[in-house]
Symmetry: C2
Subunit: 339 residues, 2 copies
């Protein structure tokens, strides 16, 4: 590690996050499950396959347009299971509360989690609450971990991405990041942008049960769609090419991004996934998505090229202006405490 | 909820923790797994039975005599699985770091987790790291969740406690709480007390594999052995009677408790459990414990009486002075951020 102190960027899902995982966590905890670097670890248990994931939520503010830290904590973990082909079975909820936190707000957050869990069809079966003295935490943090049952017979993973695979997103990107930015007190930009926070397991189950072949899925949270594409190119070795003009971005989000000089490609989502499937299966996947309320604006955004042996894959963006840009993991932190 | 703000006591494992769970969490998330109020939720998965648990760790200081927040986070979750009869299979690790946290300390904590996990025979298979701005958290918090495989054929639960059951602890109580108190800067009491933080799964596996019947186990963490007995009396309906003179307490811990005017019965442990078994099985359980490095000072401390239908059970302490005292959940916080 070249940096001696932890920086905000170490938690931003970009370059330094990646460095932290590769230089500290992987060498210390090395095992084949963690090495996969997928959203969930997939494990065999007798004749069953389960997946297991964890995420801590530190979003600020805790209430934002389109959701709150509670619903976000449920959706995030449900989605990490679902993109690995897992049907969410159960979740845990661990709360860290700051002394003085309003009990009424806690009750609202818990109710929001309960509603989100019911909608996603998952039960919160175990939990924990810690309280730290005033000033030792900012309001409330939540960890959710989840277990899913993997029944889809094929391997959904970066290594399954094949040349010719079509890349599909289920709708407009950057909504969550823009909603959080817009709701920050210091910005006071009320652009009417609402987070896309939602559980993707229903949509994903319809796709997997349709018989369509799916090679890889990843939900585009911290670091946005851009970071997901760069990571998947690196992990699969494939050259991924997307067309900027085909990536759905809401006008309001684009406007806010222009004002702030940031790229919606690297803004967080909480209800969007990038899906890789063979070309012949793309029309059916797209049709299923567009019929689903969480995929109405689904779009094909690009395709996977061949992997060059011994070379790391690249994520290429054909820009609106017509040029071709190699995407990198963001090195800075666009929005701290986005999730 | 009568209190409008979260107090430290809501996280102390005593009366207000209990109130929070019963008044907020259980009604919102209600399901039969959570309702069990055990250390782990036990779930059926095909022909397998798994258990699932979560805990967040906010201990201060993060390095203390006998361990650190990393080893503690591994032991705590391993023990929550083990006391439910689960063989720990895998764990998650979620980090919340404060901007500016020394990377060297993070590396030490991660290494300590890796060593603890290897010793306990469990793999850390999935993780997450969030960073919050300076001042929004105090250094580092860790969440660990774990999955265990339950192979013991009988139900290990408060409801299995039967009249005549013998209550055994595997050693001296209060060591962890006393070590944390002694290491707090504001106290500067170096009594040479070392935390008992340790993984109990090996000891518990030996007992369960011996064929001894075990009715219930619980690790005595926040709230100490006292809180565990009060809770188990309430959940089982049984009258639990323990003899103060038979409860092992180290001289150094007793000394510190006397200086500070606190009861070691309500001090946290991280490597101690209360085990309930039928009288005829007690000698074998005790022998197995005493042969194990984590049970050398194991002792029979009391027994379970009959449950009175419709009445909540009580935990009774026969004091050294000869009197009989009904124990209550502690209403205050003995030591904040003990785990």
């Amino acid at each position: 590690m070249t940096k001696e102190k932890i920086l905000l960027e170490h938690g931003a899902g970009g370059l330094l996050s990646n460095e932290l995982v590769r230089n500290l966590f992987l060498p210390a905890f090395h095992n084949p499950f963690l090495q996969q670097l997928t959203d969930s670890a997939v494990l065999e248990l007798g004749d069953k396959k389960i997946c297991f994931t964890t995420d801590s939520y530190v979003v600020s503010p805790i209430f934002f347009p389109g959701g709150d830290i509670g619903s976000l904590a449920v959706h995030g973990t449900v989605n990490d299971l679902a993109v690995c082909g897992g049907k969410p079975l159960c979740m845990s909820a661990g709360f860290i509360l700051e002394e003085g936190f309003p009990v009424g707000d806690l009750a609202k957050i818990i109710e929001s989690m309960a509603v989100a869990a019911r909608k996603a069809g998952v039960q919160i079966v175990t939990g924990d609450t810690k309280v730290v003295p005033k000033g030792a935490a900012d309001g409330m943090f939540i960890n959710t971990s989840g277990i899913g049952l993997v029944e889809y017979p094929h391997r959904i993973a970066p290594g399954s991405i094949a040349p010719g695979d079509v890349i599909i997103v289920n709708g407009s990107i950057g909504d969550h990041g823009a909603a959080i930015m817009g709701s920050r007190e210091d910005l006071q930009l009320d652009a009417g942008i609402v987070s896309d926070s939602a559980p993707l397991n229903g949509l994903i189950a319809e796709i997997l049960e349709s018989g369509s072949r799916v090679h890889c899925m990843r939900d585009a949270t911290r670091g946005g769609l851009g970071a997901v594409l760069v990571e998947l190119a690196g992990q699969s070795g494939a050259e991924l090419e997307v067309r900027e003009s085909d990536i759905p971005v809401k006008e309001s989000v684009r406007g806010l991004c222009e004002i702030l000089g940031i790229d919606p490609l690297f803004l967080a989502n909480e209800g969007k996934l990038a899906l890789f499937c063979p070309g012949p299966d793309a029309p059916e996947v797209l049709e299923i998505m567009r019929k689903h309320e969480l995929g109405r604006d689904a779009a094909v955004i690009g395709k996977a090229g061949a992997a060059t042996p011994g070379k790391s894959g690249r994520a290429l963006l054909r820009t609106v202006a017509g040029g071709m840009r190699v995407m990198d993991l963001p090195s800075g932190e666009l929005v701290p405490r986005i999730c």
